[in-house]
């Protein structure tokens, strides 16, 4: 990175930290600290919800996903608007009416203490580990691309935000997320504009779309049904609905966001607006990836986007073979560059037969290049069996670092930090609120003063921050981290959602039956995952349905047992 990039990066991060600290003033009790005095307007709730969900990986991985697999990943978000509606109808009024700090408090009122504790512990395990992985995932990519030390990158990625999250609580989190999202959207828009600008002079946005579409990257809708396929319209609407319902309805990192709103109306409006804008936002981020794909048709792409791993392999005994493959790949890259120019010229004439012929020729070269790349990946794996040969997350940042002008590179790197901070800060705030409200206040020290609770809340924010950084340091060797976060979430979310749905809708089910059903469902979800019969997205639906069915069965069993026993 150039000096200009360093200045842009440092200035952006310092402004955010100072803004967060400035917004931290005047905390006097837990209601201030965890609920922001329930004073947020809907647009802050909206941006906070979006900032919590959109981690660094959203902005790094999604364009890479579109580059490799096309835009069908957007279907993953189709269930989200439907979930927003259900949460507005069923969850928000209950949480607001009972005036809870955490979603899990409600479960004690509806069932009993053990069900509340079980659910909050499941949340703490899942969120605590996944926050560590959320720190680590972008750190690995940045350290690899820019040659930074991974451990120090983890400390900066997860450590600096603790300053304002610890001192300012939820208000600092929400306001910094708002500013962060403004910077993020501006930066991503600039990156999109630059991709088109960097294409040859005769290729505009429309031509780039046409080429991308002909190469199969604009496959937004896939209607084929397959249980093991992650991204089709069915898994998107059904699996995505359960995932979004679990995440927004029962994960304290999100519930804590919309509970800060000043009324039910403001909470609902924040959620519904998220339902309106989320899908178009993801569409645009993926479109950026589809355009980067076109860019690398005109200009040579590396055989593997993780340059650090590539360099390592070059220095092993597989090095000469790899370099030979790189040469072949470069030649094919030049061939693709010539062929894509012919294709866009044909597209301009509109002659279908010529277009089809040029498209086929380009696709054929792309397949051949894919085979050469596959051989290279095998070499990388042979030279280093622990290497992650999935370079999806490196594609967009490789483009940023190598193709964008000075200053913009620094801004894009800052965006990775900001996106990370937004979701991690909300996670730390929710981990602290669950620990303090559901464990410390409920079971350890129910009669402390406001000042004591505030002090303990800040302390737990710090503890969870340090814990997450430690998890990140250990997670560096775990392999595909994005997948790890998604799978981790799906293993627990379904069960937690099931408990809440039983609480809302199955009024005759009591605490014992719900508790037993949750335990049994969690074990069965792990078994289904181990058997590998469905894609992880379906685990949310499996866990939820199991809790609903089993709680009815256990309740029936308990009723029969009660009838048999003498009064």
């Amino acid at each position: 990175m150039s000096i200009t990039d360093w200045i842009v990066l440092s200035a952006t991060l310092i402004v955010i930290i100072c803004y967060g600290v400035w917004k931290s003033r005047g905390q006097t009790n837990m209601d201030d600290y965890f609920m922001g005095n329930r004073s947020m307007p809907w647009y802050i709730v909206l941006l906070s919800i979006m900032g919590t969900q959109a981690s660094a990986i959203t902005f790094i991985s999604a364009p890479g996903q579109a580059y490799t697999d096309g835009m069908r990943f957007v279907q993953y978000y189709f269930g989200l608007p439907l979930a927003m509606v259900v949460i507005c109808v069923a969850f928000v009024p209950i949480f607001r009416k009972l005036n809870v700090y955490t979603a899990y408090e409600y479960l004690e009122q509806r069932f009993d203490l053990k069900t509340r504790t079980l659910t909050s512990v499941l949340f703490l395990i899942q969120r605590g580990l996944s926050t560590g992985i959320s720190i680590c995932a972008p750190s690995i990519i940045l350290s690899s691309l820019l040659g930074w030390n991974i451990y120090w990158t983890n400390v900066f990625m997860g450590g600096l935000l603790i300053i304002y999250t610890m001192s300012g609580g939820t208000k600092a989190v929400s306001y910094t997320q708002t500013l962060q999202l403004v910077v993020i959207f501006a930066g991503m828009f600039l990156a999109g504009w630059m991709v088109v600008k960097l294409l040859p002079a005769d290729i505009g946005f429309k031509e780039a779309l046409q080429v991308s579409g002909k190469m199969g990257k604009l496959n937004v809708i896939v209607t084929d049904f397959n249980f093991k396929d992650r991204y089709n319209i069915w898994s998107g609407v059904i699996g995505g609905f359960f995932l979004a319902l679990s995440y927004f309805g029962t994960d304290q990192s999100q519930v804590g966001r919309y509970l800060t709103a000043r009324s039910v109306t403001e909470s609902r409006m924040g959620l519904l607006m998220n339902g309106l804008v989320k899908v178009p936002m993801q569409f645009l981020i993926l479109l950026l990836g589809a355009l980067v794909f076109v860019f690398y048709l005109y200009f040579r792409a590396p055989i593997f986007f993780n340059e650090a791993q590539l360099k390592k392999t070059r220095q092993t005994e597989q090095g000469p073979a790899l370099q030979q493959l790189e040469q072949q790949y470069a030649t094919l890259g030049d061939q693709k560059s010539a062929q894509v120019k012919e294709l866009s010229a044909a597209l301009a004439t509109g002659e279908e037969t010529v277009i089809a012929a040029k498209q086929q020729a380009l696709a054929q070269t792309d397949v051949t290049a894919g085979k050469v790349r596959k051989e290279a990946l095998e070499l990388i794996k042979t030279s280093d069996p622990t290497a992650d040969t999935n370079d999806t997350n490196y594609i967009f940042l490789h483009f940023v670092v190598n193709s964008l002008p000075r200053g913009l590179v620094g801004l894009l790197i800052a965006i990775i930090f900001l996106a990370s901070w937004g979701s991690i800060a909300a996670a730390l705030n929710s981990l602290a609120s669950t620990t303090v409200i559901d464990v410390y206040q409920r079971m350890v020290n129910p009669h402390a003063t406001d000042a004591e609770y505030l002090k303990v809340s800040k302390l737990w924010t710090l503890i969870w921050g340090v814990f997450s950084i430690l998890v990140a340091q250990f997670a560096t060797g775990l392999g595909s981290l994005i997948e790890a976060v998604n799978i981790l979430g799906s293993l627990f979310y379904g069960t937690i959602l099931g408990i809440f749905l039983v609480a809302f809708w199955l009024k005759n089910v009591k605490g014992d039956a719900a508790f037993m059903a949750a335990l049994a469902a969690e074990v069965l979800v792990f078994i289904v995952y181990k058997l590998d019969v469905v894609s992880f997205l379906w685990l949310n639906a499996v866990g939820c349905i199991l809790v609903l069915v089993l709680s009815l069965v256990f309740q029936q069993f308990n009723n029969l047992k009660a009838k048999r026993l003498p009064a």
């Binding site: 957007v74 439907l82 009024p93 009416k97 046409q210 937004v220 039910v264 109306t265 409006m269 569409f283």
Partner: protein, 43 residues
Amino acid sequence: MTTKDTQHEKPPLFSKWRYWYLLVIAWLITQIILFYFFTKTFS
């Protein structure tokens, strides 16, 4: 505590919340249809 107890809080713009919910669902369906044609047009 500023929360109004309100299953019955009036929504902005519309007279009932259900119209907001319908708007969100209708927008989702519209997007899916638009994306379908987008896929068909450029493939």
